[in-house]
Subunit: 230 residues, 2 copies
DNA sequence: CAAATGCTTCGGTTATCATCGAACTATGAA
DNA sequence: TTCATAGTTCGATGATAACCGAAGCATTTG
């Protein structure tokens, strides 16, 4: 009724089932066309157009014209973060829409959260970095240690390029399936990208599922898995 | 098409302006009554009641009856975190709301609530016991853990005598200045009594104010103050 | 007991908004 | 040019839900 940040209008945007489905689809990190989003939400193209205009107006999505197509994507990691948090709440409250299926277990194991790795393996990555003291979390956002910076560079990530950008290097993102933190931010994105470059993992084209090859998973566990003390 | 939790229903809950105002008001961490929330949202009590039922149904708030009042608060830090993120997206500053309770600073700090400690220090006692895992609250009334029982005995309280009585050992009591929980029940009374026996505190004869000696407050903070992680 | 206070339930009104059919614009292909 | 595909705009409809008045509980106070 009065002052303060208008969380109601933004939440209302997410609160419509059709729009929520579109946003969830965009959590894959891929840019999608209006038609694809219409299909995701199960509504006609006209209605979709109206929804997309509202989402754009609310600053939740960004659009790029390319030929006669129009590609839509989430505006920022912040938007993805809010959506992921909402999923956490919904999952905690027992508001799951679908019961556990084959795809669900794959989703829980490894999936993309906008542009970084989430699910069980996302948490392993995060915990593994911390266990090896490559990353420290003192209250606020995580920070790379000296050895951590060295490790990242050795792993084949151009750290200087990431630092040059203005977007935050490390961010925590709450996992809705595990209810624990995993690594987001530009470093999280870089890790995801590197895994694919190394051939460790591939993205499922139709969903958010990330599939690791047996060899890739083995390498992953060696570098990020639980630490065994002597 | 439909994967993951149902974020739409939860977002829709937050998406109504009246409910958003209530939730924002509850972000203070304090429990508020239905009437106060009605006032915050600028709607009648009937409508508020309906909204509160929906928020409760969605698992966003939790309610507690005390006397003829009903106090509402956010269910968890997770809820607060989502709201905070939404505010970030809405790109605005937070706003503080109604300030209620005793104006006397001494009363705010420490006072007697029937027979146990209330006010800021009462909350510190309660939070401190939980932070040290001496007390757990899983939905219902708090319960002493193994280490908690040992701690209580070591502190000089005759736990067996308390257990022998029929009155409940631990109860949560809502603080009317801080609007948060503190420890009541026979254990709460025992703590209060022990503080006085140890010479840590004395009761003001004319009011409900409890005065701690400097040394007593120091000891109190050592045992019940905030926990510092290594 | 009765009066007062705090909150809930019920019924009816109103306003909003998601939805689709149809018509329109824009880009690309034949 | 003509056709096809991608997306937008407009108008009408229908369902949902926010809202309040009035009456009903429940608890405390006098």
């Amino acid at each position: 009724m009065k002052e303060g940040p208008d969380i109601a209008s933004i939440a209302a945007l997410i609160g419509d089932p059709a729009r929520a489905n579109m946003l969830t689809a965009l959590m894959s990190g891929k840019a999608l066309t209006a038609s694809e989003l219409a299909n995701e939400a199960g509504i006609t193209l006209q209605t979709t157009s109206s929804h997309l205009a509202k989402l754009d107006d609310g600053g939740l999505i960004r659009q790029r014209k390319q030929g006669r197509h129009k590609y839509f994507s989430l505006t920022s990691d912040d938007v993805a973060h809010v959506l992921e948090s909402l999923m956490g709440l919904a999952a905690g409250a027992g508001h799951l829409r679908t019961r556990t299926g084959p795809k669900d277990t794959a989703m829980r194991k490894a999936r993309v959260c906008y542009n970084h790795l989430a699910g069980d393996m996302g948490i392993q990555l995060f915990d593994g970095l911390i266990a090896r003291q490559h990353l420290v979390t003192d209250g606020k956002e995580p920070v790379l240690t000296e050895t951590g910076q060295q490790f990242v560079v050795d792993f084949g990530i151009d750290l200087d390029a990431l630092k040059a950008k203005k977007s935050p290097l490390c961010k925590e993102c709450l996992d809705w399936s595990e209810r624990r933190s995993h690594l987001a931010g530009s470093l999280g994105r870089a890790f995801m990208h590197r895994f694919e470059d190394l051939g460790w993992s591939t993205r499922d084209s139709a969903s958010r599922v990330v599939r690791f090859s047996p060899a890739g998973e083995q390498d992953f566990n060696r570098l990020f898995g639980p630490v065994h003390h002597a």
